[in-house]
Amino acid sequence: MASNAAVPFWRAAGMTYITYSNICANLVRNCLKEPYKTEALSREKVHFSISKWTDGKPEKPTIRSDSPEE
């Protein structure tokens, strides 16, 4: 019972559906016309701030985001 169903090529290469779907979405966003393109790219930016806690107090938070410039 090596491979029962016909798996899609990305699954066979070890990629999950979410990765595949996000890659497709990014490619489509990159092909947009100008004003829409910048809106779309900014929409998908992820920022989060992490703070480590020691002795019940948070230390200074660090802000992380997807793109290295920020």
Partner: protein, 201 residues
């Protein structure tokens, strides 16, 4: 293998008896708990009892006995809801098995979408979107939920960028070494050729 087949056949009738009904065939759950509301009004008669999430949600209509005339479509994206319970005549979705036309009374289906054009037909007007990928859930009561990660109207796409991307990924495929790179290049080619045919077709 044959022994397991006969075991499966023997198990079938039991499974069928315990089969779960589809969500559209069950009666809607009551949105307010009667005992709670009574107890609340006894203690706090002046205030309304708090609303639960269930009371905000509208239950889905049950499957009607005759085919309805319109299809109700919910088309949602992670950041916006494009169409919310819009009544249309037909939608054509780009399923992995090909362009699928959904009319009212369509059999309940779950289909995975591939990058392609989604067209919504209402009367004589057709609205087309390019969908990157997603799923469509068609329920027995002629409700269709289309969920996509990214969907853009066709006039927002730039033909030059599409063709550049297609050429780029075609060359990446020939130079790819690992399976993963090949898969990514193949995805790029699929998406860009779908974009191309959407813009030119």
């Amino acid at each position: 293998m044959l022994r397991r087949a006969s075991m499966l056949l023997a198990r079938q009738p039991i499974l069928a008896a315990r089969a779960r009904p589809f969500s559209t065939d069950l009666p809607a759950a009551p949105s307010a708990d009667a005992t709670f509301t009574e107890a609340w009004t006894k203690v706090i008669p002046n205030m309304d009892p708090p609303k639960t999430p269930l009371s905000f949600m509208q239950p889905r209509p049950p499957t009607p006995s005759s085919i309805p005339s319109k299809l109700t479509v919910n088309f949602v994206l992670p950041y916006a809801s494009e169409l919310a319970t819009k009544e249309v005549d037909m939608v054509i979705v780009p399923a992995t098995t090909g362009q699928m036309g959904v009319l009212p009374g369509h059999v309940a289906t779950i289909a995975e979408l591939k990058p392609g054009v989604l067209s919504v037909h209402e009367g004589s007007e057709v609205t087309k979107y390019f969908v990157s990928s997603g799923f469509v859930f068609i329920h027995a009561n002629s409700f269709a939920d289309i969920i996509a990660v990214e969907a853009v109207p066709l006039d927002r796409l730039d033909v030059n960028l599409v063709q550049k991307g297609l050429a780029e990924f075609t060359s990446k495929l020939s130079s790819a070494t690992t399976d993963l790179e090949k898969a990514e290049a193949q995805i790029g080619i699929d998406v860009h050729s779908a974009l191309n045919s959407a813009l030119t077709g």
